[in-house]
Assembly symmetry: C2
Homo-oligomer: 307 residues x 2
């Protein structure tokens, strides 16, 4: 799947992943009204609105980006109904040939990580037939439990030719609280990055990059530079661009000299573009066109920064 991701990045010339992180505030009123009328003003209604909202955006951007990243928390908050919208969204994005990165940040002890890995990347076999749970192409994984929380995901990735992005240095303001603490002369996130490089060497794709990638926030460009050096063969998923404050100019060091090695996420900046002054002309009805315009602007911003 890392090979497919790279091929699609090269084809679209857009190292961009659109975060499908729907919230009630981002969904245009006409979609909420229609869904509530059909299903009621309840979690089922919200799930219907989320699904229609996502579908509109996916239809508008699927030819110009390689990947999407639905953040499962935004669905889980509406319980089972929300997770059904997550499931439907993942399936639809895959139909549209988008690479789907499930932003699930799971991680547990061995047998439990294995259950998560099966549910999100793999399968269960019942009566000789295969069943897949959420079936994303990649998943994000939390490393706090160490190797035996990560390796079950790698095992499934090897079987399914899928991938993971391990949290190394997250984009949030307090990420340094533990991740930047010094251990033997290096920050904790550097030690995690070293492990990612080590884990990743066991699962290499055809294009010179590993099935095992890392998450490093755009909000920390200096740390991005260091992470890039420690993990030359691991793709970096870069959240924090746009609404969280990361800029195109900050991104250059996340990439390798081959122009590859990173994929930059924007969520609210794209899916909520219609609410921004810059894209106000589109209005709520054309929220998906606003998202497309925002992707094209982001592409230009990143490509000009990469020179």
């Amino acid at each position: 799947m890392i090979d497919k991701l790279i091929t699609k990045i090269q084809k679209t010339q857009a190292p961009i992943v659109v975060g499908l992180d729907p919230t009630l505030k981002l969904i245009p009123k006409q979609l909420l009204d229609a869904a509530f009328k059909e299903k009621g003003e309840n979690p089922e209604g919200v799930a219907e609105a989320i699904w229609n909202y996502n579908k509109g955006i996916v239809d508008a951007i699927c030819d110009i980006v390689p990947a999407v990243k639905p953040q499962i928390a935004m669905y889980e908050t509406f319980g089972i109904a929300g997770l059904m919208a997550f499931d439907k969204t993942v399936k639809y994005c895959k139909e549209k040939d988008l690479v789907v990165i499930g932003d699930i940040k799971r991680g547990d002890i061995g047998s439990t990580s294995e259950a998560y890995a099966q549910g999100h990347l793999g399968k269960v076999v019942l009566g000789g037939k295969e069943y897949r749970g959420f079936d994303e192409d990649f998943a994000t994984v939390n490393p706090y439990l160490g190797s035996d929380g990560v390796k079950p995901f790698m095992k499934v990735c090897g079987e399914e030719k899928k991938g993971i992005f391990v949290l190394v240095k997250t984009s949030n303001p307090s990420s340094g609280e533990f991740q930047d603490r010094m251990i033997d002369g290096k920050e904790l996130f550097c030690h995690v990055a070293e492990k990612v490089a080590e884990w990743g060497s066991e699962l290499m794709g055809k294009n010179g990059y590993s099935y095992v990638g890392a998450v490093v926030g755009a909000t920390y460009p200096e740390q991005g530079k260091i992470a890039r050096q420690i993990m030359p063969k691991n793709f970096i998923l870069v959240p924090g661009y746009g609404a969280q404050g990361g800029k195109g100019a900050d991104l250059a060091h996340f990439f390798n000299k081959d122009g590859l090695g990173a994929i930059v996420n924007s969520s609210r900046g794209i899916i909520g573009a219609w609410q921004q002054e810059k894209y106000a002309k589109y209005g709520a009805e054309a929220y998906a066109d606003a998202a497309r315009a925002a992707v094209l602007d982001m592409k230009e911003d990143i490509n000009s920064a990469l020179g």
Copy 2:
């Protein structure tokens, strides 16, 4: 909820939480056969078997333990159908007045942690009406992202009078890989424990313990002793007893002198007791009675160690 947990521990004299972590291997054949006959040999069939299996165990133990801890990964592995069994299990356990600790190990950047917190401990309000997602009483939380990944959970805990257990030192073999690394003369898990104590001081229950607890594995008794000292007012959820190797004698240091301060989890050791030689006389049909017997033995083991 921490006050309710303490009251129930005192009433049952059992600082025990039963992990409801169903796997296909643990479910007796008669339950699988019946469920497959009704729903088909597919995830819906498994979910039905899981639900019946859990219900049997809950009915058999609800008067002798204060709490249960369903591990969501074991349900998530079967996709939506599995999560519906999780939801049903949580609701049933609450009907039986058990405290439900959702072992979800979530944690993300601020707004995303807020979404998880709402979905698992809180509510959403739609059209003036409240809707609850999974509605556990406690949730486990991963601290790798620092304070702003944890505080949204605390905010919801304050509103709902619920609680969290933050991963400090996990029970798995590789937990030391990052958690035991030395930072300023102390292991990382000690720094996390200090933060738990700090966070916890903002949300105190009536019985002298905080809404914010910690997870420290029974497999690391020495670290349990240290964690206990750093966090005198934070309850410790102790996994790793039984199947993972932790013994009653290892547990004394996890408790405070008031005999409180810790609750010990056993999953396979209880719900899979019927497969152990010790409880073989019960057979598959009486798997729930075997679970009850295993709880009573565990209670004796812990209480004699605390003696």
